[in-house]
């Protein structure tokens, strides 16, 4: 979120920069400490799932909140990243990181392809087209058994190979804490990348298109090209999340990428605060942890989940980000603009 008022004042700009770097340092510190506080396998697993969901949420927010494109099919790119990378490793013996790059690239291309196809569509049409795409991808993963194993599943997927420097094992990814650092670190870097894109001229272009496509066109901005770019980046990030998912859970079945998963990711973005990038980070964390914490509720767990989603939309559509802003204003930490 760039604040134009601040941009004009150099000292103000420096202050904003300083506070941002402070926030990043704080984030790094939190990431490092978390697995040390939660040192049992159950919570460390949850932390890693949080990190994967953060990746998914920020990627979707970039497409949805910044490029203003109604993408209801994010699960497709998640699944493509997971399957492409895993199949390359398992069937062709390709090393993990090469397969990772391939998975990310494939997902990115799929997003680009869908976006090119749907570039003329808007609003609800794009929404249903993306949903249709997600259904097709899921069905292909399910039915092309000779390639993907379909419902029979792929088992025993190994975590990334250990990082060994000079004979010394720096990181063994069988260790849950190490795996968490890997995914959280990647999510952190992705966040910085997307955040920089948003602040750059590219981001301002996207905002312009989102607000008013017609005027933007009159200024000579090629809306279509930028939308496709945003879609490609967002879906590539989802592909990365998929690669991590596969090697983390160790088991890959197509139903993990059923279209309802796309709605889960959407919920994380909305609850966090669409278009704020930082909001979806917390939305992802909240909606990953909430079902775990609610396990005591038994049958009512998902009812609470659905109710939370509905009420957020009704009463606080800006999500957690809006709530945070409101609280900050009330506490006098922030001038209301």
């Amino acid at each position: 979120m760039s604040d134009p008022a601040l941009a004009q004042h150099l000292p103000g700009q420096r202050a904003a920069l300083r506070s941002r770097w402070l926030a990043y340092a704080l984030a790094i510190a939190v990431i490092i400490i978390l697995p040390l506080i939660f040192n049992d396998t159950y919570w460390r697993t949850n932390l890693t799932v949080c990190a994967i969901n953060v990746l998914l949420a920020i990627g979707l927010d970039f497409i949805l909140g910044y490029a203003g494109q109604l993408n209801l099919g994010h699960s497709a790119f998640y699944g493509l990243g997971a399957y492409v990378s895993t199949l390359l490793i398992v069937k062709l013996g390709i090393p993990f990181w090469a397969a990772f790059v391939a998975g990310v690239a494939f997902a990115g291309f799929a997003g680009t392809f869908l976006s090119l196809f749907a570039v003329r569509l808007r609003g609800h049409y794009l929404a249903i087209a993306s949903l249709g795409f997600a259904v097709i991808v899921h069905q292909i993963l399910l039915n092309w058994i000779s390639l993907t194993q379909g419902p029979l599943g792929i088992y025993g997927i190994a975590p990334p190979p250990a990082i060994v420097i000079g004979g010394v094992v720096i990181a063994d990814f069988h260790n849950l804490a190490a795996f968490f650092y890997l995914v959280a670190g990647f999510a952190f870097l992705s966040y910085i990348l997307l955040s920089q894109l948003v602040r750059s001229p590219i981001g301002e272009t996207l905002t312009a298109i989102r607000e008013d496509e017609v005027s933007a066109a009159s200024l000579g901005i090629n809306g279509a090209a930028w939308k496709v770019f945003a879609f490609g980046v967002g879906s590539a990030v989802a592909g990365a999340a998929g690669c991590f998912y596969a090697s983390f859970v160790g088991t890959l079945v197509p139903d993990a990428f059923f279209v309802s998963e796309a709605f889960n990711i959407l919920a994380m973005v909305i609850v966090g605060g669409m278009g704020t990038l930082i909001g979806p980070v917390f939305g992802a964390i909240l909606l990953t942890v909430l079902p775990e914490v609610l396990r005591g509720f038994g049958d009512l767990r998902l009812v609470v989940y659905g109710a939370a989603l509905t009420f957020v939309v009704l009463f606080m559509p800006g999500g957690l980000a809006q709530a945070a802003r409101v609280i900050a204003e009330k506490l006098g930490l922030r001038r209301s603009t």
Partner: protein, 294 residues
């Protein structure tokens, strides 16, 4: 022998199509007037089916009456959702928010139904379910015949309502241009509420009609909802004739894909068709107006 199969699958397809049309009609009606998607629509269908079931089994009512009960339950739900969700959110202007709110409602409804009714499928039998008509090597169950008859009746009534009654014309006016309609003295809010109530009542009624055919669990709705959306788009959002045509086409695709290919490919074929339609004619098979916001 082959002609029999082709003919039989054609009939199967038409029955299936009528099934989908009953669900999709309400969706397209809502979209035509409100430009809104209600993700909980299929759950209204499911709830209608359960309402009919419990009316028959707890109260001991007859099947035909249970359909009326489901109609009323659907209407009540529609009124509630409109009042609680669509009206408050209308002023925010964001087209995504109500959609997401309805996703939340859908999750809630499914899990409340799960808590109340449990996960074991209910066997909804009526005196018509298993009776079969046979002629020339073809078979149709009475239930299927009922589905087709009711679908045709519903469509005819809806059509008559839209074309010949004042309310119907007012609805179409609001669909075409809300502001001008308002200027002409039509109260859009009242009409929007009416649309919702009618569409959801249709959904509930559809549920009672479909209950003998569906695998009746709280998740019955999810099995049809995504295809229903595809039908609405293929037919043309807001266009009743298009929805009917698209529904029949999808039904036929299903039966012929099952016969000559594999049931697992049905969804792929249907959604590939959807994407093709969106590529070449996004306004749908039968486009009326509304070219600008495509």
């Amino acid at each position: 022998m082959t002609t029999t199969i082709v003919l039989q699958q054609a009939i199967n397809g038409v029955v299936l199509g009528s099934l989908y049309v009953l669900v999709a009609l309400g969706l397209t009606l809502i979209y035509g007037v409100l430009v809104q998607i209600n993700f909980a629509h299929a759950d209204f269908v499911t709830l209608g089916a359960f309402a009919a079931y419990f009316f028959m089994h707890l109260v001991g009512g007859g099947y035909i009456l249970s359909i009326a009960v489901a109609f009323v339950v659907g209407a009540a739900l529609g009124w509630l959702i409109n009042a609680a969700i669509f009206t408050p959110l209308r002023h925010k202007g964001n087209e995504l928010l109500p959609l997401i709110a309805t996703i939340g409602v859908s999750v809630m409804m499914q899990n409340v139904m799960l808590a109340w009714f449990g996960p074991i499928p209910y066997a909804f039998e009526t005196q018509y379910s298993n009776e079969v008509i046979r002629f020339a090597g073809i078979f149709v169950s009475w239930q299927s015949v009922i589905i087709i008859i009711v679908s045709i009746l519903t469509i005819a009534l809806l059509y008559a309502f839209m074309k010949f009654t004042f309310l119907g014309k007012a609805l179409r006016a609001v669909a075409q241009d809300r502001e001008t309609a308002g200027l002409m003295g039509i109260n859009p809010n009242y009409l929007i509420m009416l649309t919702f109530v009618i569409a959801s009542a249709l959904a509930g009624m559809g549920g009672a009609m479909l209950a003998p055919v569906l695998v009746l669990t709280p998740f019955a709705g999810t099995s049809v909802i995504v295809k229903a959306f595809a039908i609405v788009i293929i037919g043309g959002f807001g266009n009743v004739e298009g929805t009917i045509l698209a529904g029949l086409i999808v039904g036929l695709i299903e039966s012929y894909t099952t016969q000559y290919l594999d049931p697992g490919l049905i969804d792929i074929v249907v959604f590939a068709l959807l994407l093709v339609m969106l590529a070449i004619k996004p306004t749908g098979l039968i486009s009326e107006r509304r070219e600008e916001n495509v």
